[in-house]
Symmetry: C2
């Protein structure tokens, strides 16, 4: 017996001609139209999407847009704290927000394995709907392909998105300067460890949960304090270590972080120790790294802490002119440890 999912009680899966996905649902004919009318439009309807053209028409002010894309192949589809649906929305919303842009519009492309239950698809759609509402972003255009059973793993989702960059904001991995401070918006490794322990069937006493969340509102609030943020990135695949290495190399500066300042939840830390994994390399899905001048640091940190997704924000390090291109961690024992780029991820299909 499967667990009762509260939202499926209040919003049951619409009755469709078939209760699993058929090849014809991706063929552009009558079954494709049924899928659009019964499953997609009730979740995402807005004027641009409901026009049902092959493209959305959007009106934008002149200026700078941020444009980003991400495909989601996470396994399993549903995991503690989230699922492929909210991950697909939040992932692209965050990539847009990391330029300082206000995320506005998303496209969604589904690749579905023949035979997937309509109920599973509907559950992911409900989750996308909620995440899009929270992030105040509109899904304006989409596409659905179906492949034969065994030719993809259940469901892959691509989202691409557009945001509008406010005037005066210049955020880039090339803008780090010696003396800049490095903030982290919350605890490390929650998403990756939630997936990893779920996939490996490990039952820890505590319940690890993904941190998937939209960072759009947090970034907007931070830019309300100062537009002078130098760099901003969400440390997803490859974790904090990868983001900091990319920053150090792109700006040709050194980065020092303090081991005792890195926030890791005790249950996440325990799971990392059991599995022999360094939380620095584990994916996060609702966190960001902020690099900014020292004189703005305190005000921005206070603003972050007042925000639900930034309440555990803290100072984790600083930019230096020593060891350009490298990330050094000051360990709790007082030693210096080089934090290198990982070769790959410890676990595939984390997002």
């Amino acid at each position: 017996m499967s667990a009762i999912i509260p939202e499926s009680l209040s919003c049951p899966c619409p009755i469709t001609q078939h209760d699993t996905i058929q090849m014809a649902h991706g063929a552009g004919g009558r079954l494709s139209a049924e899928l659009t009318q019964k499953l997609f439009l009730p979740r995402f309807a807005n004027p641009a999407l409901s026009a049902l053209e092959d493209q959305a028409m959007l009106t934008v002010p002149s200026g700078r847009l941020a444009f980003s894309t991400d495909s989601f192949v996470v396994d399993p589809l549903f995991f503690p704290g989230g699922d492929i649906g909210d991950l697909a929305i939040n992932g692209t919303v965050n990539d847009i927000a990391m330029s300082g842009a206000k995320p506005m519009y998303l496209s969604v492309g589904f690749i579905i394995e023949e035979g997937l239950s309509m109920e599973t698809l509907h559950r992911a759609l409900l989750s996308m709907e909620r995440a899009a509402k929270t992030a105040e972003i509109a899904i304006v255009t989409g596409d659905t392909k179906v492949v034969e059973k065994g030719q993809c793993d259940k469901l892959f989702i691509n989202t691409s998105g557009i945001g509008i960059i406010p005037d005066g904001v210049e955020i880039s991995c090339r803008r780090l300067k010696p003396g800049d401070q490095i903030l982290l918006s919350g605890t490390l490794a929650d998403h990756g460890m939630a997936i990893m322990t779920t996939r490996k069937g490990l039952s820890f006493q505590s319940h690890l949960k993904s941190d998937t969340a939209s960072l759009g509102k947090l970034v907007e609030a931070m830019l309300g304090i100062t537009k002078n943020i130098h760099a901003l990135r969400d440390p997803t695949r490859g974790g904090l270590a990868t983001t900091l290495n990319e920053f150090a190399k792109s700006s040709n500066v050194g980065i020092e972080i303090f081991e005792d300042a890195l926030p890791v939840r005790p249950d996440v830390k325990g799971a990392c120790e059991v599995l022999g994994i360094d939380p620095l390399y584990v994916a996060n899905e609702g966190k960001c790294v902020v690099v900014l001048p020292k004189d703005q640091c305190e005000a921005v940190l206070n603003e972050m802490k007042s925000h639900p997704v930034g309440k555990d924000a803290c100072l984790i390090g600083e930019v230096t002119d020593k060891n350009p291109g490298m990330v050094i961690m000051k360990t709790m024992l007082g030693a210096n440890r080089i934090v290198d780029m990982p070769l790959g991820e410890q676990l595939p299909r984390i997002c």
Copy 2:
């Protein structure tokens, strides 16, 4: 022994640490960076992409944008007349162009099966590079995911794109009016029949070829004659029959087409007859249907014929106030036949 591919002589696959795709190529670490540096950037480099941020920064004028997305799961990856690479570029370029917009920017999301040869990926990238150059569109942001062997079929590509809609252009499937004329830019069913005969291993004496092509320049030329085009669409999945049915239903008008006016190449017609397939329902990848007032018809048709991808353009029917929501074909024998929406596609994974 495989055939010699001319472009692989002039542009061999770069030497990489591995000659097949590894899980780590999708993990955001050092192997991901190698893939980006050695395979992607040499093909697509432009300032927005080469900044290697998680999003592209684009400057646009104020006004209307067209935004579209499409995932490509075509099987086989390479087929007579094209491959997944040019299809993925042309497909989204065309969806954007069908709003009257000038296609400007593309995102690309790869989902790659572990073990795919680097050579195969490189061949698809070369094809994407050529198609993007022809369409004068820039690939400005991207994403790569790798899934375990057996969890996807070789290579799936999502492209999403942005175009700028000129002032005064109002193209919509809701704008058809009785008396409007219907033009088709060339022969029907070339793409679908090329895939179908390749997949089924049928060897016809003639060589059927996909019509995959960018329609951006053709649309620009047509709009140079008149901005008063009512509707425009590329009849891909579901073929011409689906596009016309969508037009008739969205505008609540009748559509009449003339069987003897429908252009089908003799070899395509032969293949359709052998396989018992109606070319009206077969996918096209480089054709468009144009609906416009009668007084503009001749000038636009002449302009289309002067263009390489419109040289076989012809008048195929008209919009009426009879039988709203329906498409009727006047057959060569003088009878009226209802052209209905298909339930699905005759062949899956056509694009």
